[in-house]
Symmetry: C2
Subunit: 327 residues, 2 copies
């Protein structure tokens, strides 16, 4: 059995908790929190909830620690720190800072002799894999990533900061005609506006000026100004009833040519349609947790990404079973 | 530079020849044939065409040999034999015999200290990867593979063996309603007939009994009897004009659940739309040829499959570049 620890019990940590139950070779040993452990109720009976100060005592009781904090402030500190004691997995998703994060985590993990796999999830994660395979098999080509339809947490937060807004949710939606232009093999150059639209569902406070709210949202720099944005005002009841989920997804499309004169076109399309963004991300984290333990048991140490892991390390099945059933 | 040899110069060998030109770190050193080398004209100037009897003399001049023979009789003999002297790649696609083939090739490659990667292409190959990733990240789920729309060589050959048939081509086509049932997350059980239809374009000999030909095709066991098959009679000119390509493609869909009670559904869909089946397969072979050379230079030997290779081995880019641009 692979003994797993969870650090952080938000949506992602809860997703990891339920994903572990779907993997017969894994057991959840403890959940670690910065809060008072007494205040955290988890959904798996008989599993300890501990304060992070007690984590090092679990050094020999846990094979891999799955870090479920955020990329802004948690993971840049936690992952290098935890890699001193444990094999670790994180979902660090600040694309521009991955190299910097990698270097720090690699130093820690090499010193401790542990394996750390960073930036695991679906983007970065499964989508990164698809971009890499696309580049490998169609080097004379171009790739396109579209996100959605799905809830963007950052944009939903931005809406809620507008004066007069009680609550709100934002959906990122790929533009169908842009998707189809890419699928046609024309390799179009697409602007930000041409690729995605943004749809907002907003609950206004009583008496608030809706026209001003709509204008402020649509003109918000870095968030909405570069997009065609639609704003719908709804009631709190409607928001809770129709928009409480956290769906997401998207597309990675590689379009490329082969032949002596590039005479043949090929389209590779990968898409995700996810009812729950955090639960799917958690499932990916758990698969890579298995890989970290296996690699470490082979004597490997240091920081890795999804691009460095062979698929056969990810599943419970033996190599022979995989060859027989999946090849 | 990675020095590449090609063994066999049919559609696949020609595809490898053109794919090598798209990869700046590779050069084609020689093409090997069982025919009289004088009779084989290749499209790359300055590259030797040699008889296979001279192959062992190239032991130190070639880093990887790409085997472009067929799975029925060529590869079961050639891959274990060639792995005694070279890093090798093949596209062995007889799914039921892969384990047996693996064992033989592994013995040879371990003895010689070379790397052999077998069953490379798109199915087995890219589709195998997608089935493995799907199983890893959605263990509580089911996968579906659909082929087409594309030309099936075996079925086209079968048509041409019917008495009174001058020429013919067969397309395998996935049934749209079956695809949509899978995409809906319902995890349907689908029969062979429900998943694919077969469409045949047939040129009859003058005076041949078309009704009998159509009946014979539709009732042919192992090929058409289990499918809904359509037969179109066309002229030789129409066949050559409209059906001379070798397109193919297909879909791998993984449908799975997450959550404590499986309350959330997720759909992962991977599709290929290929103008040229052999050229795309060749492109995949070439990417894995790079991986074989890199792995061997790290001291690895033995037989591998696509499931055993980390994606970062496949592209010309360095790991740092990949992390920066693809993660």
């Amino acid at each position: 059995m692979i003994r797993v620890g969870i650090y952080g019990y938000g949506n992602l940590g809860k997703g990891v908790e339920s994903a572990i139950r779907q993997n017969k070779d894994m057991e959840l040993v403890a959940v670690f929190t910065r809060r008072d452990p007494e205040s955290v109720k988890i959904r798996t009976q008989g599993v300890a909830v501990c304060h992070i100060d007690d984590m090092v005592g679990y050094k020999d009781k846990i094979d891999v620690m799955i870090l479920c904090g955020g990329s802004a402030t948690d993971l840049p500190v936690q992952t290098p720190e935890m890699a001193k004691h444990f094999n670790v997995i994180d979902s660090f998703d600040t694309h521009a800072r991955i190299l910097e994060h990698f270097a720090k985590v690699d130093t820690s993990a090499k010193e401790s002799g542990k394996v750390a796999i960073i930036s695991v999830g679906w983007d970065p994660g499964m989508f990164s894999l698809m971009r890499a395979y696309g580049l490998a098999v169609l080097p004379d080509g171009k790739d396109y990533t579209f996100w959605g339809k799905g809830v963007s947490q950052g944009h939903s937060d931005a809406i809620r900061r507008v004066e007069g807004v009680l609550d709100g949710k934002q959906y990122t939606i790929p533009v169908e005609s842009a998707l189809n232009a890419v699928r046609s093999g024309k390799n179009p150059d697409l602007t930000v506006r041409e690729k995605h639209v943004r749809e907002c569902f907003v609950v206004a406070k009583e008496g608030a000026d809706k026209a001003r709210i709509e204008k402020e949202i649509k003109e918000m720099k870095n968030y909405f100004a570069d997009y065609d944005t639609t704003v719908h005002f709804i009631t709190k009841e409607e928001l809770d009833r129709d928009h409480s989920g956290i769906p997401h997804g998207g597309f990675v499309i590689r379009s490329g040519k082969t032949g002596l004169n590039g005479e043949n076109s090929h389209i590779i399309e990968y898409s995700l349609k996810l009812d729950s963004n955090p639960e799917f991300t958690s499932s990916v984290l758990v698969a890579y947790a298995r890989a970290a333990v296996r690699l470490n048991s082979e004597g490997v140490s240091g920081c890795k990404t999804v691009l460095d892991i062979a698929p056969s390390y990810l599943t419970i099945a033996s190599k022979e079973e995989l060859y027989k059933t999946l090849l």
